[in-house]
Symmetry: C2
Subunit: 408 residues, 2 copies
C-alpha cells in the first residue's frame, strides 16, 4: 500500500512536471529558447545531465544536434548529414523506433550500428523519435555512465515528453517560417522597387544609380539623427521613389542637354506631385511618401511644390533634401563635371538655414567624408550588380535610339 | 485513507486531462479550432455544459464571446464593447479577479453589477481571467443551474486551464498576426507594382490601364485552363510587368503616331529582353518573368525575341499572348479605333495554330464575351481609382508638355 502510494506520488510529480513543461515550452517563440527550457526538465525527470535533442532539417536533409549536454556541460551545436547519421540517432530516426539500452557492453550486438558515443563512458541509453503527424522530426535521448539507469517507465515518460516537444517544435517552426516569409516578401518588395526605379533612373543617363545611392545616403544621415531602426526602411523607400514622378516628364525636357526654358522648368517642377499621386494609395509606404512630395521644399520656404518652410516640411523630407544635394554635387551632370565631397560639404554648410534645416546639416557635417565615399562605392560595386546589367542593356538601347534619331 | 486515495485519483485524472488539453490546444493554429478543442474538456472537468470563453480584442476594445455553450448547445458569437461589458465578465476582466458564486440568489449583492445571465436559470457561476504576462486577455467561465456546483478546487482547476489557454491564445494570435502581415505585404507589393506599371503605361497614352487590364484578363484565362489558385499571382504579376521593358524605348519611337521604320521597329522589339533584364533577379516573381520575356513569341516560331515555337514557349507566355492580342484589338490605337470583342474572338480563332497555341485558344473561346466586358469595366471603374487619379495628373502634364513642344 505504502509502495503504491509512493509510486502514485512519483507518477503525480512527473505528471505535474510534464504539465509545467508543456506550459513552459508552449510559450517559446524560437527553437533555441524552447530547447533550453526543455533542458532544465531532464535532470528532475531522468536523474541525468547527459542528453541531447536532434532536430531534422528538411531542406538540407540533416539532423541538427541543437542541444547536447555532457554531465551538465553544454556542447557545441552539431549538424550531421542524415545519410551519414548511422549512429543510434540516425537509426531511431530512420526506424521511427525508440531504443532502450540497459548495458551497452552486453547489448551492442542488437544494433547494426556504430554509435557516436562508442568511445565515451555511456553505459545506458534511452532515445525516442519525436513524431509529429506520423513523421519523425527529431530525436531526444538521455544517457548515463551507469548501467540500467532507465526502465520502461522512463521510456514512457520520454515518449510523452517527445509528444509535447513535437507540437512545440512545429509551432516554433511555423512562427519562424512565417517570419522568414515576411522578411523575404519585404526584401522582394525592396528589390522590385530598386529594379523598377533603377530602370526609371536610366532615362536620365547622367544619374544612373542615383535613386539607390541617395536612398542609402539618406539612411546613413537618418541614423545619425537618431531615427529608429524600424523607421529607416521608409527613408530608404522614399529615397528610391523620390523621382518616380519624372515618369510624367517627357524625354524632350528630361533629357535636354541645354538649360530649360521657364515653361519647361515649370513642367519639370511638377514631378514631386506626379510622383506623390502615383504612390499615394500605397499605405505600406507610410512616411516614405513625404519624401516624394516634399523633397524640393526649402527651409526658407522658397522651394516647391507647396513652398512650405521650417518644421512645416516633414522631417524625412528635410533629411532627404540635404542628401539629394550631396548627390547632385558629387556626380556628373550634362552641364558640369562631378565635384568633390569636400566641395559638397562646403556648399551644404553654406546653405544651412536657407535651403536646409540647420539641425540636419549639423548632423550631416558630423559624418566623415570617407563614409559617403564608401556608400557610393558599395552601391556601384556590391549592390549595383543588377543595375549594372540593366545599365548595359538599356544604355545600348538608348545609344541605338540616339543613332537612329541622328541618322534620320 | 480510502478517501485520500480517491481524492488523489481524482486529482491525477484531472492532471492527466489538463496534460492532454495542453497537448491538444498547443497544436492549434487558429483561434476557433483552439477554443473548440477547449470546449470538449469542460464537461469532464467541471460536470457542466454551460460555459463561455471571451477574448479581448485590443484594436476594437471589445470582448468577443468566441465560445458560448448553453446546456451543450453552441450559441452565436457575440461581440460586446468593453465599456458596456459591465456584466460579470466585464467585472472579472477589469478587476483581474476570479468570481466564484455558490448561490446567486444569496450572493448577488456582493457584485455591483447586473450580470448578463440574470434572466437565465444560472444559480452557480465560476469565472476566471485569462492572464498573459500580467495582462488580462480574456475570461473563461462555467455556469450551472444548481447551487454550489463549483468549489475552491474548481477555481484552482479553471485557473490552471486559463493559464494554459493564455499561452495557446497568444501563440495562435501571433501566428494569425504574422499571416495577416504577410498578406498585407503581398497586397502592398501588388499595389505598388500596379501603381508603378500604371505610371509607365501612361507613356503610351492610348493604352491607359492596359497592363492592369491584361493582367486581370490573363488570370481569367489561366483559371479556365486549370492553373492552380496559388499560381495565378504569377500570371497577374507577369501581366502587369510584361511591357516594363518599354522604359528603355525612347518617346520618339514609343509615342510615334505614324508607322515605325524598320530600324525603329527593331528597337521596339527589344522591349521583352530589356524588361526581363530589369526583373530577372527578383526571385519572388517566379514564372511571371516568362511572360515578360516571351509574350511576343508565336506558336509557329515567327515571334521574337528568340523565335521559339510550340511548347518550347513557356505555358504562361502562351496564355498571355492571346490576352495581349485581345486587348490590342479591343482598345483604341493611334492608327485605328477599338474593335468589338466579337471581332477579337474571330481574329484570335483565325490565328489559332499560327500565332497562338490551339489549346489555349480553345479554352479562351469557351469564355463568354460578357466576362471580358465585365473585367474591362471593373478595371476601369472599381480597381482603376488609383489609375484614374494618376491618369488625370499625368495626362495633364503630358498635355502641357505637348503644348509646350508645339508652341516652340
Amino acid at each position: 500500500m505504502v509502495r503504491d502510494i509512493t509510486e502514485r506520488k512519483r507518477a503525480e510529480e512527473e505528471l505535474k512536471t510534464l504539465y509545467r513543461l508543456g506550459l513552459d515550452i508552449s510559450s517559446s517563440v524560437n527553437l533555441e529558447e524552447l530547447l533550453d527550457k526543455v533542458s532544465t526538465y531532464i535532470y528532475p525527470l531522468f536523474g541525468t545531465n547527459t542528453f541531447y535533442i536532434a532536430v531534422y532539417n528538411e531542406k538540407r536533409n540533416t539532423l541538427v544536434f541543437e542541444i547536447d549536454y555532457e554531465d551538465g556541460v553544454k556542447q557545441q551545436k552539431l549538424e550531421v548529414s542524415l545519410r551519414e547519421a548511422d549512429g543510434l540517432t540516425g537509426w531511431i530516426f530512420k526506424n521511427k523506433t525508440p531504443v532502450l539500452i540497459g548495458d551497452w557492453d552486453q547489448e551492442w550486438r542488437r544494433y547494426p550500428i556504430v554509435p557516436l558515443f562508442l568511445n565515451k563512458k555511456t553505459k545506458s541509453y534511452l532515445g525516442v523519435p519525436i513524431i509529429y503527424q506520423d513523421k519523425v522530426i527529431g530525436v531526444i535521448a538521455v544517457q548515463s555512465d551507469r548501467v540500467r539507469t532507465f526502465d520502461e517507465k522512463s521510456l514512457k515518460l520520454l515518449t510523452t515528453m517527445a509528444a509535447q516537444l513535437s507540437v512545440a517544435i512545429k509551432n516554433v517552426k511555423l512562427i519562424e517560417d512565417l517570419k522568414m516569409a515576411l522578411r523575404e516578401v519585404e526584401k522582394s518588395y525592396e528589390i522590385t522597387l530598386e529594379a523598377l526605379v533603377s530602370a526609371l533612373d536610366f532615362r536620365e543617363h547622367e544619374t544612373q544609380f542615383h535613386s539607390k545611392r541617395v536612398a542609402s545616403y539618406a539612411v546613413r544621415l537618418a541614423r545619425e539623427l537618431g531615427v529608429k531602426d524600424e523607421e529607416l526602411k521608409y527613408i530608404y523607400w522614399g529615397g528610391l521613389l523620390h523621382d518616380i514622378g519624372k515618369i510624367g516628364v517627357s524625354d524632350s525636357i528630361l533629357l535636354k542637354p541645354g538649360s530649360l526654358t521657364d515653361e519647361e522648368w515649370e513642367e519639370m517642377k511638377r514631378h514631386p506631385e506626379i510622383g506623390y499621386r502615383i504612390i499615394e494609395n500605397i499605405d505600406f509606404l507610410g512616411p516614405a511618401k513625404d519624401i516624394v512630395l516634399y523633397h524640393h521644399e526649402r527651409w526658407d520656404g522658397k522651394g516647391y511644390p507647396l513652398g512650405l518652410s521650417g518644421e512645416n516640411i516633414p522631417f524625412y523630407a528635410r533629411i532627404f533634401s540635404v542628401i539629394d544635394a550631396l548627390d547632385a554635387i558629387t556626380t556628373d551632370r550634362p552641364y558640369r563635371k562631378a565635384q568633390s565631397f569636400t566641395k559638397a560639404l562646403q556648399e551644404i554648410r553654406r546653405c544651412s538655414g536657407t535651403q536646409f534645416d540647420p539641425e540636419v546639416v549639423k548632423a550631416f557635417l558630423r559624418i566623415p567624408i570617407s563614409e559617403w565615399k564608401k556608400i557610393k562605392q558599395e552601391v556601384l560595386e556590391v549592390r549595383g550588380e543588377l543595375s549594372k546589367q540593366l545599365y548595359v542593356t538599356v544604355q545600348l538601347a538608348a545609344e541605338e535610339t540616339r543613332q537612329l534619331l541622328g541618322s534620320r
